[in-house]
Subunit: 458 residues, 2 copies
């Protein structure tokens, strides 16, 4: 594997030789995409400029495939606009658009000006859509035929198009059928068109019941729909059903992966990084993490208030303190199990708000069974610590009550946030743990006051 | 939206009418896939049997698309083998194979016997591969042409194949080129074949540098590779480069989604459910969750031992107890942020073991900045609780030390587990919190003993 530490081929060395062949050799030898991206990200600005000079169109595209859009933009920014334009012109429009979204308005304008006019117009249209809309990710060039054409004419038409229109295997699987007004009326697999009798009309071959997306559909929803329906591409149409472009399966997979990563980061109690981990600087990591840490710290500070309120009880029975981490930890763990499962089920569209009664019924039944098991574990633990019957009873009752309470909060919170149009992924493991910590201590000491004879006078 | 509670069309009602049209109407009206699956999952066995009787091949396929393999198997299990075979024969082989993996050996054998012999043989071959290998998910029927054919002959050949071979838009984008021994020698986009001059040979049109998978490649690795390279399909070849089948982009997206869900569940401290959430019974949820809860409980029990060891210190300065949840909570949060980011970066192939020095450098620098910020927050909190200068100093130093310790453990643990061939996703938020809790308390009380004059004599 090229990614091993020993004998690792370095891009720096290839660049130092100022040799196009050396860079091509490096691309050949290092076939691991993340290793390539890691090495490119480690280059200085001047090295990036040199790299840009040593890439031809083939090696440029090959390298582009292994880096993310932001890193591609970082490299391109070091090059003259004419050279950037020549490279962007090689890319599919949706990919070129994604890279161009990563630079400031002035740089983008300079690049657009250096592009051929018709191509610049297509890209400008694409860049006008909001970043998270499906339209920002669509391939704007589509191959269309008319419903009245014969299959043979249609294939000839596509043959003619192919020379003019930027398209590739991604857009070629389905041929969309539009009327004179560019309104989408059907779809026909390219294969069927070719393999059908030459004189059958497109109208006879096409499927008219076509699922289509509106351009402002959220990218996540659109990608999920395409994956759910196991489609190769989905057309994007405006309010008059005029065809604007296509969302293809490879872009959908990219979007789904990006969204899953963002959700995972949110679930870990951090803001999404938005750049690959190895490229994130400590300063960026700090900014993405510190806000939630301070919010959670402030929320958790409430536990101090609760404990101070029960200072006399703690003073009287110091053994109560022994179980604080165990009880609140168990509450946090129970809650975390539920929220992560629910948040993921909601992200993949398996669970919606109207399922809340079903969720609650399921989780509270599970919660009762879990509470019983954990109570048994608590009896054993309290007994081995030798804290006496009363404290054992307190701890056992508390663990059961805290498990039930955590189950309830964790079941209700993610769908509730979704209903309020907040991304349920913000209910991170740290957040649910924090919520359960303070309230769990209240439950614990309330039960202690009711159970312990030593606290009767307080 | 059909998924709203009021006026929701119920599958039960459609079934009660014993009318094929009613079921078709229900499919038409309820276009949300998860809602369909939810309603199907709620049926009794006899209702499932009735449903099977009311579906024709078209509505059967349409319904199949909206349910997972296990639910599809649940419904099919209620039907006579001949009817199941007729339905399985309509599915692509990879999908049929996935459904058949969900039933016991006897049922599967009965279904295979009812299938036409050649088809049964294809499915038997598919089912022989291990469940998580890419071969289990491949489309075994491929369209191949010879390198010496002209483009026109090749298209005719495919036209002839198309009648015989089970294939669809998923396998049609790329045509694979094999020699007389069925060895993969190249690939040509179907479009290029059609649009090229009729008398050019396939050899001239094909790309020979074809990325291919070995059949035992882990499904997750294979899917990630296909998504990384933005491909529509990847060929699966044996050790002699003989073509066995194709992994297509829609299956790759499915696998990636399934793996992301499993990772999310592991990260929440639960075993993966393996069924859609709404279909998981409380008993199943209990089994998936209780093991980790008890393991974590046992590990967390250690905190009780630590606290009992410092019983005298706690008795002398009860204010120390106030900060226990806050300190261990902050440690857990810091660790969780790091592990979730790292685990996800490792799952998507962005980070490998050889990156450990880079990870440590990044995380420890970030950790120092976070420790400073949290120490400042701790001073404020201790001051507002009015616990005096010495305890304030203890808490401040402790929070900084715990943040650094948590950063170190969280950075090192996921890559270390990966190195030991354990899925790093098991480093869940609850697990890292548990590890940091006990050790964090040790740090806290050790600093307290060094700082507090009241504890000097103990």
């Amino acid at each position: 594997m090229a990614a091993e530490n020993t004998g690792r081929l370095r891009l720096n060395d290839a660049l130092a030789s100022e040799d196009t062949v050396a860079v091509a050799d490096w691309l050949q030898a290092v076939d691991d995409h993340s290793e390539r991206a890691y090495q490119v990200a480690g280059l200085s600005r001047s090295q990036m400029r040199r790299l840009g000079g040593l890439l031809d169109s083939e090696s440029g595209i090959e390298l582009y495939k292994s880096v993310d859009d932001q890193l591609a933009a970082d490299v391109l920014r070091q090059l003259p606009a004419a050279r950037v334009a020549a490279f962007l012109d090689l890319l599919d429009s949706d990919h070129a658009g994604n890279v161009m979204r990563e630079v400031d308005d002035r740089t983008r304008e300079a690049w657009l000006s250096a592009l051929p006019l018709p191509r610049a117009r297509v890209l400008r249209d694409l860049l006008a859509w909001p970043k998270h809309s499906v339209a920002a990710h669509m391939v704007p060039e589509t191959l269309t035929v008319g419903p009245a054409m014969t299959a043979a004419t249609a294939v000839d038409e596509i043959r003619g198009h192919a020379a003019r229109v930027r398209s590739d295997s991604r857009t070629g699987a389905y041929i969309f059928v539009t009327d004179d007004d560019n309104r989408l009326v059907g779809v026909v697999p390219f294969r069927n068109l070719v393999l059908a009798g030459a004189d059958r009309t497109v109208e006879n071959l096409m499927e008219t019941d076509v699922l289509a997306l509106s351009p402002l559909t959220d990218q996540e929803v659109a990608a999920q729909l395409l994956i759910d329906h196991r489609l190769v591409a989905l057309p994007v149409v405006d309010a008059d059903r005029r065809l604007l472009g296509l969302l293809t399966a490879d872009d959908a997979a990219d979007i789904a992966e990006e969204e899953a990563t963002e959700d995972a980061e949110r679930q870990g109690g951090s803001a999404p990084l938005e750049v690959p981990y190895l490229r994130a600087s400590p300063w960026l990591l700090w900014r993405k993490r510190i806000v939630w840490l301070l919010v959670l710290f402030a929320a958790e500070a409430y536990t101090g208030t609760v404990l101070r309120a029960f200072e006399e009880e703690l003073d009287a029975v110091v053994a109560l303190a022994f179980f604080i981490p165990l009880l609140i930890g168990t509450g946090g763990n129970t809650g975390t199990q539920i929220t992560t499962t629910l948040v993921r089920a909601m992200a993949t569209g398996q669970v919606r708000f109207h399922n809340v009664p079903a969720i609650l019924a399921k989780e509270m039944s599970t919660g009762v069974m879990i509470a019983l098991a954990m109570a048994a574990a608590a009896v054993i633990r309290a007994w081995t610590l030798g804290v006496g019957a009363e404290v054992t009873l307190t701890v056992t009752l508390s663990v059961a009550a805290i498990v039930l309470w955590a189950s309830f909060v964790a079941s209700i919170l993610p769908p509730l946030l979704k209903k309020c149009r907040v991304d349920p992924a913000v209910v991170s493991a740290p957040m649910i743990a924090t919520i359960v910590d303070g309230t769990g201590l209240l439950i614990y000491f309330t039960i202690a006051k009711m159970t312990l004879s030593q606290l009767a006078g307080l």
